[in-house]
């Protein structure tokens, strides 16, 4: 069984004026390839910090984190940037598109940082934009399309470098329920294609799309329900 993510005895604490403040306390988690996980929990539970560490944007104070076989806790800045570029696709609550660039350029941006040439960049970007249903908007700017469409662009951008893992932080937080449902369907489809998806959300109906729900409270995993049996995952892959 391929393990995409393996976290053991993970701690994270911040230095504050009042002394060290622990955000994550001994988190252990294994996520397998093709899994569909929803991370839930109230504000301050540590789920965002955990996401940042999973996304190689932050490093743990102690403990181990293996992503796709890489020992992330002990990698340097450039190696982390490459992991983010090639292995992870980010989807944010606020879409986080570059307002000045066309949708095509937005989607192609990760390929710039992996050093692809222009022809390949545009080809792949068109391919994924078409996949998320925005074939007619290649040259539009983000402010010319709706929020749901913007989130599709962000998903296209996350997909363009064929990542093993998609990390979505409250992907439907800024969307109405109908659009949210459409976006979630898109995630469901991607997962069916074998891409590992991890969502952070605090809405139960969104979390229900995932096969597995993990609940955080006070820096600890308090609940981990697996819907899909490992055998089923294998079947899908």
């Amino acid at each position: 069984m391929d393990r995409v993510i393996e976290v053991s005895h993970l701690y994270k604490s911040y230095e504050t004026a009042a002394g060290p403040f622990s955000v994550l306390k001994d988190v252990n988690l294994i996520i397998e390839k093709g899994d569909y996980v929803a991370i839930m929990g109230p504000s301050g539970s540590g789920k965002s910090t955990f996401m940042n560490i999973l996304g190689c944007l932050d490093s743990p104070t102690s403990g181990d984190y293996f992503l796709d076989g890489y020992d992330v806790a002990h990698l340097g800045g450039n190696a982390l940037a490459q992991l983010r570029n090639k292995t992870i696709g980010f989807v944010f609550q606020g879409f986080n598109l570059l307002a000045r660039s066309s949708l095509l350029d937005n989607v192609a941006l990760p390929l710039v940082y992996s050093g692809q040439d222009k022809r390949i960049r545009h080809e792949k970007a068109k391919q994924v934009l078409t996949k998320v249903g925005l074939a007619q908007y290649f040259n539009s700017r983000p402010n010319q399309i709706s929020g749901g469409q913007q989130q599709r662009v962000a998903i296209a951008r996350a997909l363009v470098n064929s990542p093993t893992l998609i990390l979505a932080d409250e992907p439907t937080g800024n969307l109405d329920s109908k659009t949210s449902e459409e976006i979630m369907t898109l995630f469901d489809d991607l997962n069916k294609e074998g891409i590992t998806v991890i969502l952070v959300t605090h809405e139960n109906d969104i979390a229900a799309h995932a096969k597995r729900q993990i609940r955080f409270l006070d820096g600890k995993v308090i609940e981990d329900s697996s819907r899909a049996e490992p055998a089923m995952v294998e079947e899908i892959v």
Partner: protein, 407 residues
């Protein structure tokens, strides 16, 4: 990837056009000023070089009268202490190649109804060799003209223009100098301005003896106001100067410890000093102008810092999707560089335009050299990199999580 970043830098520049333009303005003015100032300096240097080469090379001028005659100073060249025999003696010196005694003054000249006041130079044929001057028409008078004091004249271009106009060929015509008729035997080549700004073409050259006997009526027969001496090479200049001094002191019976009754000036040295001064001046002008480049650079740094702050979120996004520190660094550095280089390009155009303006409206020579343009580019690029580096590094060192959270 570099091409993609260049494209992005270009877009970023276009995103806030007014701000980019204002930032560039500093560079534009700075580079324009440097190019213009260097053009003016270069123009001055070239005109000095022309004057020097028009003067003749390895040249001394021996003037009659003491260099500083006590409290009451008469202008040098007034007292009649030099004569033709001094010139002959100087020409015997080893290191001297040519000598030309000169007697000069101003006179009114007339040709049919036209009048012109010009300077008359009375000299020998060797004058043309010493001054490295040739004629464009006719012939130079000869030593036999000196012996028999014939009334022949060589005429400068300015005099031709004022006395004859464009239509008439002056050679063979007779003009009147101080009422005496002179036949024009040749026209002098154009020389241009001398170092002190005189028009060297506004002159008439006649045989020395003719000038002495028929035009200026010397009190002392054979006396001349100055003797031009050409040394054999630039290496023997000091030796020649010493030789002339010793010879003339001896001939004029100047006692040990007394002042000379003549003065020797090394014209080539004076000219070189003038050239050196102009060079220093133009360097100084360039240096002052380049201070504005520095100010322009600070402007770029300022705006880049604002830009980094404004685009914190963008930087966060780029980092999240895989930009390395050096990608971000390069991106902002390229932007700063592009602003300064484009500003520099426009500045060069402004400088060239300014030089043309100065040339047409002030008549000052202003020559834009490729050297000054390449210098401006190098300086602009260094300013871009130097002042762009700090903001770019600040951007590259941002924490991606905080950058993403930035509103």
């Amino acid at each position: 990837m570099f091409a993609a970043m260049l494209g992005e830098a270009w877009h970023a520049m276009g995103a806030n056009r007014l701000r980019t333009f204002l930032t560039m303005l500093g560079m534009m003015i700075g580079v324009g000023a440097v190019v213009l100032m260097m053009a003016i300096g270069e123009g001055a240097q070239q005109s000095i070089k022309r004057s020097i080469s028009s003067m003749g090379s390895n040249l001394f001028i021996v003037l009659s009268g003491p260099p500083n005659a006590g409290a009451a100073r008469s202008a040098t060249g007034n007292a009649a202490t030099l004569n033709v025999r001094d010139a002959d003696a100087i020409s015997e010196l080893d290191v001297v190649s040519s000598v030309a005694p000169v007697s000069m003054g101003n006179a009114q000249i007339i040709y049919s109804g036209n009048n012109w006041n010009t300077s008359i130079i009375g000299t020998t044929p060797s004058y043309f060799q010493v001054r490295d001057w040739s004629i464009s028409e006719g012939y130079i008078f000869s030593d036999s003209d000196i012996r028999s004091a014939t009334r022949v004249a060589l005429i400068g271009k300015t005099v031709v223009e004022n006395l004859f106009g464009d239509e008439i060929d002056p050679v063979g015509k007779t003009i009147r100098i101080k009422q005496s008729p002179f036949v024009i035997v040749g026209v002098l080549d154009r020389k241009g301005q001398s170092l002190d700004g005189r028009d060297q073409d506004d002159t008439i050259i006649v045989p020395l003896t003719t000038a002495q006997r028929k035009l200026f009526g010397n009190q002392v027969p054979g006396s001349v106001r100055q003797i031009l001496v050409q040394a054999e090479s630039d290496k023997v200049m000091t030796q020649a100067e010493e030789g002339i001094n010793n010879l003339l002191r001896q001939r004029h019976n100047v006692r040990e410890g007394s002042d000379n009754d003549f003065s020797v000036r090394n014209l080539t040295a004076i000219a070189n000093t003038a050239a050196e001064t102009t060079r220093t001046m133009s360097l100084l002008l360039g240096a002052i102008a380049s201070i504005s480049l520095l100010v322009g650079g600070i402007g770029i740094m300022n705006i880049m810092l604002v830009s980094v702050t404004e685009r914190t979120r963008e930087i966060g996004i780029r980092m999240a999707i895989g930009a390395r520190e050096r990608d971000i660094l390069l991106q902002f550095l390229l932007e700063a560089l592009m602003i300064s280089i484009v500003g520099c390009l426009i500045g060069v155009l402004i400088g060239i335009g300014g030089a043309m303006f100065v040339k047409t409206f002030f008549g000052t020579d202003a020559v834009v050299s490729t050297q000054s343009i390449s210098l401006a580019f190098i300086v602009a690029a260094s300013v871009g990199v130097f002042f762009g580096f700090y903001p770019a590094r600040k951007a590259a060192k941002l924490n991606p999580i905080e950058a993403l959270r930035y509103q």
